[in-house]
């Protein structure tokens, strides 16, 4: 099989434009018609350290970034040696001190300093892969303007490569047609879903890796008539949303695990007072401050069990950027339909990685409006109460009402289950099933492509409440493999609390890094 996925990686210190040049490259690739999936790593600091951006691209279907690198750039010396496990014999590793010498320090002097070597590297990439120079110029001009030194830097890289690396050119199969696809990080895709779903109130306190959604929505608040507020803390963010929903807004807040810990009292309030607030929870590894800029699926049980007391809530988890859009809209509908808290559980790997998708800005979603009485409407006054209450909202402590309320919640749970996103089964007529939730989806689909679809795959999109019907699907399989990006197999724990569940193998990873298809291929091949 000829290679149809290629991966380029750029590494260097924070502040040297790793991500901006990486995204520029992705835009250039998408303008050629390629599908892209990217991934970036960065420490929690502003200058120095070690940042990377990698993008995989293909003229064919592509689900996730790959681990093995074809072309690597070290923007400063010593930013390549820690990546040797990602290299193979044919990997081109460029840099001042790298196996393929690219004298960035000297070349930088010709283009006004080291600031532009990232774009110079794009020139080298364009030469190596025979990209269309006009297209590259066009994207650079669109990004930086027509008088930018980046154009000169790109040309210098291209010329230098054509004189020195003629032997290293890589032959690509170019896409047949050029699409209108755009590049979306998960956070951005979620935000477009929020807009499409009629979201009009977003309150959030900054916390990596959720802040991308707040930045995006803050930036478009006037255009899309969104009331946006960055308040004093996460508790206020959630409380603002609770008040806004009472007054008729379609409201969401966004945070990561630590901020969500503070919001848990509001999750509980929303459950008691019937306020349909959406919580966009983008996980990173904990405990406590943990690993702020890395990825994890370690908050599943926390999300499911969030908020004190027993009440109905919904937890749904997008598996990729496209589902981040879908659930951004759907979460608002579920919140409006059932008037309970809805958690959209994502993680850094989805939220801060990009995918090429068809234009989301014009995509529409169905909108379900809440039937709760609206302040301003005469005659429907009621109390949204954090206390146990009767139908009008007044606090009660009598046994009959308490038991009746519990029964109503139980009935509502059955209705909720019927309305939630269904599990997605990819049927390859196998007797073996891979099962996962959230961000592992993209890597698993890419893995199955490499394994020529030897397994069926079940993605749970709804994590709470659990539909017991899942058991019927599972009963058809001889062997079940569960893959989770956490240390304690939280999906397995959750399902075991609902029914008998005994997967033959649980594949876990909890080092802050996502799974890559190559490592899953290796893991699964042991069971052939």
């Amino acid at each position: 099989m000829s290679q149809d996925v290629f991966t380029v990686k750029i590494a260097g210190p924070a502040g040297s434009g790793i991500k901006s040049s990486g995204l520029l490259l992705s835009h250039i690739l998408v303008a050629h018609g390629f599908n892209i999936r990217d991934y970036s790593e960065y420490p929690s600091l502003i200058r120095g350290g070690h940042n990377t951006y990698q993008v995989s691209f293909s003229a064919n279907e592509l689900f996730a970034p790959h681990y093995d690198i074809d072309v690597f750039f070290s923007l400063l010396p010593q930013h390549w040696s820690q990546h040797t496990s990602e290299f193979n014999q044919s990997t081109l590793v460029f840099g001042d001190d790298a196996p393929v010498v690219l004298p960035l320090k000297d070349l930088a002097q010709q283009i006004g300093g080291h600031l532009y070597v990232n774009t110079l590297c794009l020139g080298v990439i364009a030469y190596i892969f025979s990209l269309n120079q006009d297209t590259c110029h066009q994207i650079i001009t669109q990004t930086f303007g027509s008088d930018t030194p980046n154009l000169k830097a790109f040309d210098l890289g291209f010329d230098y490569a054509s004189k020195n690396y003629a032997q290293s050119k890589i032959t690509l199969i170019f896409p047949q047609k050029i699409t209108n696809d755009k590049i979306y990080e998960g956070n951005e895709a979620y935000s477009w879903g929020f807009i499409a779903g009629g979201g009009n109130f977003y309150a959030a306190y900054p916390m990596t890796p959720s802040s991308g959604a707040m930045h995006f929505l803050a930036g478009v608040q006037e255009k899309y008539k969104i009331t946006f507020i960055h308040p004093e803390d996460e508790i206020a963010a959630a409380s603002l949303c609770a008040g806004a929903v009472f007054a008729g807004a379609r409201a969401a807040t966004g945070t990561s695990g630590g901020g969500f810990a503070l919001m848990c009292e509001t999750v509980s309030l929303c459950g008691a007072a019937n306020l349909g607030v959406v919580f966009y929870l983008v996980s990173r590894p904990g405990p406590a401050t943990g690993l702020p800029t890395w990825t994890s699926q370690g908050d599943l049980l926390f999300a499911v069990n969030s908020g004190h007391g027993e009440f109905n809530k919904i937890v749904i988890a997008p598996g990729d950027q496209a589902e981040s859009f879908e659930f951004g809209a759907e979460s608002l509908n579920l919140a409006a339909k059932f008037n309970i808290p809805v958690i959209v559980l994502s993680d850094k790997f989805v939220a801060e990685s990009s995918a090429s998708l068809s234009d989301l800005s014009t995509k529409k979603a169905d909108i379900i409006i809440s039937q709760q009485p609206l302040p301003g409407t005469p005659g429907q006054e009621y109390l949204a109460n954090s206390y146990e209450h009767d139908a009008a909202g007044y606090a009660v402590e009598d046994i009959d009402t308490i038991n009746k309320n519990a029964a109503v919640r139980q009935q509502q749970r059955q209705q909720i289950i019927k309305s939630l996103p269904s599990p997605k089964l990819l049927n390859n007529n196998s007797s073996n099933l891979i099962m996962s939730w959230g961000s592992t989806k993209s890597t698993i689909l890419e893995t199955l492509k490499l394994l020529e679809n030897k397994y069926d795959y079940l993605q749970l999109t709804t994590l709470w409440p659990i539909d017991a019907e899942i058991k019927t699907i599972l009963s058809k399989y001889q062997k079940i493999f569960v893959i989770e990006n956490n240390a304690t197999a939280q999906l397995v724990t959750l399902l075991k609390s609902q029914f008998d569940f005994n997967p033959v193998k649980i594949i876990l990873k909890s080092d802050g890094r996502p799974f890559f298809p190559e490592e899953l291929v290796k893991e699964l091949k042991q069971y052939d």
Partner: protein
């Protein structure tokens, strides 16, 4: 006179100053001619928070310390509404102090009313942010070590544009008059009602 009552009998102790505020809120809304449906009351937790049950308006009985951000959420979502956050000294000056400061900084267009009886009374009498220094309470049997907060000077330091007043919470006419003034104020207003808890407040240091 506008009727905002739910018909549920108030559960406060006989002689509690909260009865005066309950009447004052209704009189102020009546005087200002605000339609019942356009009033939203957002309650904190505590004895005063229990007033939520005695009104028949659009109301939220929120969580302890959170009446201000919840009320602001209501107001931002529908600026036409008259939104009043109602809490005690514990909720507004203690658990919710960060929210109070932020709302004053932003000159947030809501009115906050504080039943300031210098104690946590619903929880049977512990020290609050406005308890006089040296007071012996259930949580400070050796005497409280902290000086009390002065909400007026505090808020004026944060933002001179806000309207803040501390008045005798036992004076019904004054309560109504000041509430009317606060509700007319376009930006942030806070009315601190100095009260004495009839059950737990007798032994506080003067």
């Amino acid at each position: 006179m506008i009727n905002l009552k739910s018909g549920i009998t108030p559960t406060w102790c006989p002689g509690c100053n909260n009865f005066l505020l309950f009447a004052g809120i209704q009189q102020a809304i009546d005087q200002l001619g605000i339609a019942k449906e356009n009033v939203v009351l957002v309650f904190d937790i505590g004895c005063i928070g229990n007033m939520a049950d005695f009104f028949n308006t659009y109301s939220v009985h929120s969580l302890h310390g959170r009446c201000i951000p919840t009320a602001l959420g209501v107001k931002l979502a529908n600026p036409k509404l008259t939104v009043i956050a109602i809490g005690g000294d514990g909720g507004v000056y203690g658990e919710g102090m960060g929210h109070l400061i932020a709302a004053a900084r932003a000159d947030a267009p809501i009115t906050v009313v504080v039943s300031d009886n210098h104690l946590y009374s619903l929880t049977t009498g512990q020290t609050s942010p406005t308890t006089p220094k040296g007071s012996k309470t259930k949580s400070t049997p050796l005497g409280s070590i902290s000086v009390p907060i002065n909400p007026v000077s505090l808020l004026h330091t944060i933002n001179p544009d806000v309207m803040v007043d501390s008045i005798d919470g036992r004076d019904p006419q004054l309560i109504t008059a000041k509430l009317v003034e606060a509700l007319k104020h376009p930006g942030f207003s806070l009315l601190d009602l100095q009260q004495i808890c009839v059950t737990f407040g007798k032994e506080l240091s003067a």
